[in-house]
Symmetry: C2
Subunit: 215 residues, 2 copies
Amino acid sequence: MISEKTVERLSLYRRILCQLRAEGRESILSHELAALLHGKAAQVRRDFMQLGYSGVPNSGYNVRRLIESISDLLDSPRMQGAALVGLGHLGLAILSHFSGRWRQLAIRAAFDTDPAKVNRTHHGCRCYAMDDLAPVVREQNIDIGVIAVPAEQAQGVAEALCRAGISGILNFAPVRLRLPDTVYVDTVDLTMSLEKVAYFARQRVSARHQANTAV
Amino acid sequence: MISEKTVERLSLYRRILCQLRAEGRESILSHELAALLHGKAAQVRRDFMQLGYSGVPNSGYNVRRLIESISDLLDSPRMQGAALVGLGHLGLAILSHFSGRWRQLAIRAAFDTDPAKVNRTHHGCRCYAMDDLAPVVREQNIDIGVIAVPAEQAQGVAEALCRAGISGILNFAPVRLRLPDTVYVDTVDLTMSLEKVAYFARQRVSARHQANTAV
DNA sequence: GGGTGTGAACGGATTCACAGCA
DNA sequence: TGCTGTGAATCCGTTCACACCC
């Protein structure tokens, strides 16, 4: 019902709104929020329309209520747990990034094949052996998997997570996962992102050069 | 001229094609490639059309030539260099991910404020103090910046990179950077990605449940 | 026959533009 | 007056469908 793009923006709105609230701001206009997001005011209004939250003409949106409204949509009524597989640098980065920040969504367990990491706590999160994946996922009521293992192992790990009953995966391995479409998959591909930046950076350079010579 | 989405896919095509080449595969049909990408054949053909590379009816595309053709577009004729700012777990993850993998695009220098990291080599990459950013960027002919610092410092780092003359930024900090539009910016937002997965994972669960009860 | 290349149709997301309201 | 909510228009990416070629 609500589109992927809209959900992404709602997540960003919420983050910005929380900052504003912390600064004591009580209300905000659509075009102010748009400016902060590099978007257009109409888009902001349409997103909130989908949310079902209404603002007030001339005084805008109430920051606190808007945050609540977005949270009603984005957060699960019951706690959602995530499992992280792979405790290399990337896994550790993810762990420290998410450690203890959200109440409604937390990484509850980590998994790795390295015996030196297993049965220890990293950034406040216990690391288990891969064999324990299914039981731990079930016991801790985990329904999201985060994959931070090398490309070769990603497909296997993804399948194991699915068998354990997970319903969403955030994948950092540079592979297109083949999974039943009962699970939602989002892949963050660092290589692709860097190549994209490299390409468009070059375009900007030549555009700049062109503009200079055109004058 | 060529869209962002298309560039993303070209990057993925190339990776898959390189694997195929390594396996000794000489040619491939549009619908085979589409299947590997979870896309449609028409899309693949259209992407290659934009590239200006033509296949042959009934025998498809020559793998080696196609890779060359994509590389002509994506890779810079002269080497492109990148600078990484922030050597926390995320920075190290990025460094090890990209270390020595590409000839046309490499991370040439890293920067951090921590004196324990400065003037040492990490994953084959020298770490400099932040003060050296501008001179090193200029000397090493770097035109891409990768930001892997905490949110609070990201804007400042981004501005410093711009002043040093960079033309593209890959940003991992959860902030919308405000920069002149002469630089291309792509932000990879882990928090947003995870929240998105969490949301759609929930939707899948209820969809599954609905399907079960509907029968 | 079974591919490719591509104009045309489609669909979803964004933006415009304006009615309605404080 | 200056904002919000929203139908209508527009834009852009994707997909269809078919002419053309091996």
